[in-house]
């Protein structure tokens, strides 16, 4: 909202707002209210991971050694790249460059998809290593250290919840891309791109926290 908008780019004022500026601020405040609840949810999970590390250091380190550090690092790079493409989409929307904006949004969705593919491979590797303690038919590799079960279960809850947010985000992004490709979108709904961008950056921010707390500090 900080940058000036090109001619013909803007927001159609809804009747219950006095000004377009008020409408834009309300939309941004609304998404932030939701993002804060999400932040509290993920923060609690990460805090429990840190407590598990403090209370059961040997078991947590043993479990974390099975995590795929380099896949996690690669996925962090992928999400940082997707944040760049999302920021580009926002800038293109402000400039009124609709085609470039649509391409940047598709690139963002593709990078999100790549993240999920890599995450899926990581889960498959975990399954092959018997690192899924919640599967009753498959013995857990670290069964002799019960506290490791705590950390691994927490890892799955946190990363699956993040993956669910990302999957939902990709769906919403593709839907919005379909709408944003239509003529006249940028003259009526430009701030939708900015509001959605906040959500995407937040998903990135959560993973920026998850990677070090789950993968790095426990090595």
């Amino acid at each position: 909202m900080s940058e000036s908008l090109a001619d013909g780019v803007g927001v159609a004022r809804a009747g219950h707002f006095e000004t377009v500026a008020q409408q834009r601020a309300a939309a941004t405040l609304g998404i932030w209210a939701w993002l804060i609840t999400e932040l509290l949810l993920f923060s609690a999970l990460f805090l429990v991971a840190l407590i598990t590390r403090i209370q059961h250091p040997e078991a947590t380190v043993a479990a974390a050694r099975h995590l795929k550090f380099w896949i996690g690092a690669t996925n962090t790079v992928v999400l940082i790249c997707s944040s760049l493409t999302m920021s580009m989409a926002i800038e293109f929307s402000r400039m009124g460059w609709q085609r470039a904006m649509v391409r940047a949004m598709l690139a963002t969705a593709a990078l999100g998809g790549l993240f999920l593919v890599l995450k899926g491979y990581e889960y498959y590797a975990d399954w092959a290593e018997h690192m899924m303690p919640f599967l009753s038919q498959r013995p857990f590799a670290l069964a002799e250290t019960p506290a490791a079960r705590l950390f691994v279960n927490l890892y799955y809850v946190a990363t699956l919840l993040h993956a669910l947010h990302l999957f939902t985000g990709i769906g919403l992004l593709l839907g919005m891309t379909w709408m944003a490709a239509k003529a006249g979108f940028l003259s009526r709904h430009q701030n939708w791109i900015e509001v959605y961008g906040l959500y995407w950056h937040f998903i990135d921010l959560v993973w920026i926290l998850a990677f070090p707390i789950l993968y790095v500090v426990n090595r």
């Binding site: 909202m1 900080s2 940058e3 601020a25 941004t28 405040l29 932030w32 209210a33 993002l35 804060i36 932040l39 509290l40 923060s43 609690a44 805090l47 840190l50 407590i51 403090i54 209370q55 550090f69 690092a73 962090t76 790079v77 940082i80 790249c81 944040s83 760049l84 920021s87 580009m88 800038e91 402000r94 400039m95 961008g197 906040l198 950056h201 937040f202 990135d204 921010l205 920026i208 926290l209 990677f211 070090p212 707390i213 993968y215 790095v216 500090v217 090595r219």
Partner: protein, 103 residues
């Protein structure tokens, strides 16, 4: 294949450079900070390395929050709102870890 940039006028290219400068610099800074954390995590140079790793993460979070999410340019009410969220998290994490680390 002809680059799409070649079709842009000099003014458009200047505008593009101006508008994308901040996102690209943020992207490069985040990659550099991630490289620091990955190197520290892979080599574990000293016992208290986790303190440095968490400080690097804090800088990355601030970069995303202030620059990518543009909180720094938002009106005061939105800045207050986003700041309060992280403030509550700081209270929760700070008080809980103080308890566990002081036992």
């Amino acid at each position: 294949m002809r680059s799409p940039l070649a079709a842009l006028s000099a003014d458009d290219r200047a505008l593009l450079r101006k508008r994308l400068r901040t996102p690209v610099l943020t992207f490069l800074a985040l990659l550099a900070l991630l490289a620091v954390n990955v190197t520290l995590g892979a080599t574990l140079p000293f016992a208290e390395v986790w303190i440095v790793e968490l400080l690097v993460v804090a800088v990355m979070v601030m970069l995303i929050l202030l620059v990518s999410m543009e909180v720094i340019h938002e009106p005061p009410l939105i800045r207050l709102f986003s700041g309060l969220g992280f403030f509550w998290v700081a209270i929760m994490v700070g008080m809980t870890l103080t308890d566990y680390l002081a036992r």
